[in-house]
């Protein structure tokens, strides 16, 4: 018993150090985003001026708007595709299903440079889709839909399907059943996937950088362009906003899922 307590203490120390390693840099830039230091890398007293600077910077506002539009469209389309695909994969059995599932995994696990460069060549040399909103949104749907598929599929496997059977047995059409029974029951899973896809799309740099072309600066591309000139406190404020949005999203997902559990 005593041995076990020592083991758990050692593990606790190790785990805490790992967690500190993962969080220390993030916490630092959050702290420095409120610091007077003009290099944004040490503490020189509290200020909000970098946030004022951030919100009065036209370039940042443009980039932010662009990122929000792209992520918004991507979330809607990818979640829609993810939902019907997950439903199809769960319900149907056919030859080649395993192959299809593996193929859907490819855009998730491939390095972004491969996806990005392949799409760039495809857009510019074969189908001539203009670089900018169209190419970026298509690329985001390509790498976000698979994610939605697996998030929703995972939830479907722990799902009570007897309601759907009952509705069908009682004579509801499949469409009506989906609209009135299965859909609402799946809603927490669908919302969770939407909230997870949002940061996935909003944060993407590598693939977007490849297919953006000239002049379509998203927020991560703006950050990257600023990194070349060395760190600035403004990036600290952007980083703080990114982390806050992600945390807010995660908390929302948690509550939505809790709500889903207590409903069913």
């Amino acid at each position: 018993m005593k041995k076990k307590r020592i083991a758990s203490k050692i593990l606790w120390v190790l785990s805490s150090l790992t967690l500190i390693f993962l969080w220390a840099p993030m916490i630092l830039i959050i702290v420095f985003s409120f610091s007077n230091n003009k290099y944004g890398s040490s503490w020189e007293g509290f200020t909000l001026k970098w946030y004022v600077k951030l919100f009065t910077n036209d370039q940042v506002r443009d980039a932010l708007m662009r990122s929000l539009i792209i992520a918004g469209v991507t979330v809607v389309v990818a979640t829609l595709i993810g939902t019907i695909t997950a439903y199809g994969l769960y319900k149907l059995n056919f030859r080649g299903k395993q192959f299809l599932r593996t193929s859907i995994l490819l855009p998730i696990v491939f390095p972004s440079v491969v996806t990005g460069s392949a799409l760039l060549v495809f857009f510019t040399r074969l189908v001539h889709i203009p670089l900018g909103y169209p190419s970026i949104i298509i690329a985001h749907i390509v790498f976000c839909s698979p994610l939605a598929v697996f998030i929703i599929l995972g939830r479907m496997q722990r799902f009570d399907w007897s309601w759907e059977e009952a509705a069908l047995d009682l004579g509801a059409t499949p469409f009506r059943t989906f609209l009135r029974v299965t859909g609402p029951q799946l809603l927490p899973a669908i919302m969770a996937s939407a909230m997870l896809i949002f940061p996935w799309s909003f944060d993407d740099f590598v693939i977007t950088y490849f297919v953006a072309g000239v002049g379509s600066t998203t927020l991560p591309i703006y950050v990257f362009s600023q990194l070349r000139f060395g760190a600035t406190p403004v990036i600290n404020t952007i980083g703080t906003l990114f982390v806050s949005i992600t945390m807010l999203g995660m908390v929302l997902v948690y509550f939505v899922q809790k709500m889903g559990k207590s409903n069913s």
Binding site: S8, L11, L14, S15, T18, F21, L22, P25, M26, L28, I29, S41, S42, I81, I84, T85, G88, L89, K91, L92, L100, S103, I104, L105, L106, V109, F110, P111, S112, V113, V114, S117, A118, L120, V121, F122, R125, L126, I141, V142, S145, P146, G154, L196, P199, W200, F202, D203, V206, P220, V223, L227, A231, G239, F242, V243, T246, G249, M250, Y254
Partner: protein, 302 residues
Amino acid sequence: MRAMDEISVSQSQAQKREKRKLALNIAAYLFPIIIIVVVFVFAPLAIILFFSFLKSGPYGQIVYTFTFENIGAILGGGYGKVFLQSIYLALQTNLLCILFGYPIAYYITRFGGKWKTLWIFLIIVPSWSSYLIRLYALKTLVGTKGTINTLLMNLGIISEPIQILYTNFAVTMALVFAWLPFMILPIYAALDGLDRSVLEAATDLGATPFRRFFRVTLPLTRGGLLAGSILVFIPTVGEWLVPSIFGGSKIMMAGSLVAHKFTAVGNIPQGSSLAIMLAATLVLILYLTIKWGGREALEKAL
């Protein structure tokens, strides 16, 4: 005889109807994802495969003559070395992630108690936060004018800043920092799904905790380890941002080569050949891992 015939005819008709219904359903539900996979994943890969056998002209245009030059430059030349170095760095990152990730996943499962959700939350948030911002944050910490150096110099412990950036150590640290959460989560999922009674049985049968871990727990969480390794190893081989931010011009990885050829040089055939070789290497590794039993765990981890 005739009755039997009629039955078998109606049976085959029913089968046909079933088949048609299935095909219709597949078309209805899976059409969009099949379009995505075929048009936007396979076709672009096919295009860069085709381009990797072509040449680049003096103004960056594509010359349509067939050549093995690009592939040869990877298999035999200096690019091959970069590929080997990337694979080496990715393996090292993967092992370090397991080494740091397993204890924390184990701790959360066994001793997390009421703090379990908070621990998981604190690991998921970095994995969903902007990757670029996280790397920038790490650079702020370890840079020449970074926080660690400023602090140590102000305290009088060192007089010259320590050079951390642009070393092998910096690249390795950044890779582990970037990918560690993606190793912890699948291992945690595997450990969490473990049947406690199996472990109790091992103890009852006289296994020491040490032996129990290596003979029971570890083999039973193999799926999680494999899934984590897919999520860590494959993107790491293709890293571009980490070597360019933390390695400078000294440390190249396969992903930075691809990015360099496309975004800086504009040599599409060479870039394509590098991308296709990278993809081929990784598909092979992915195939072996999935065959070894990683797919189910990977899907679960997502």
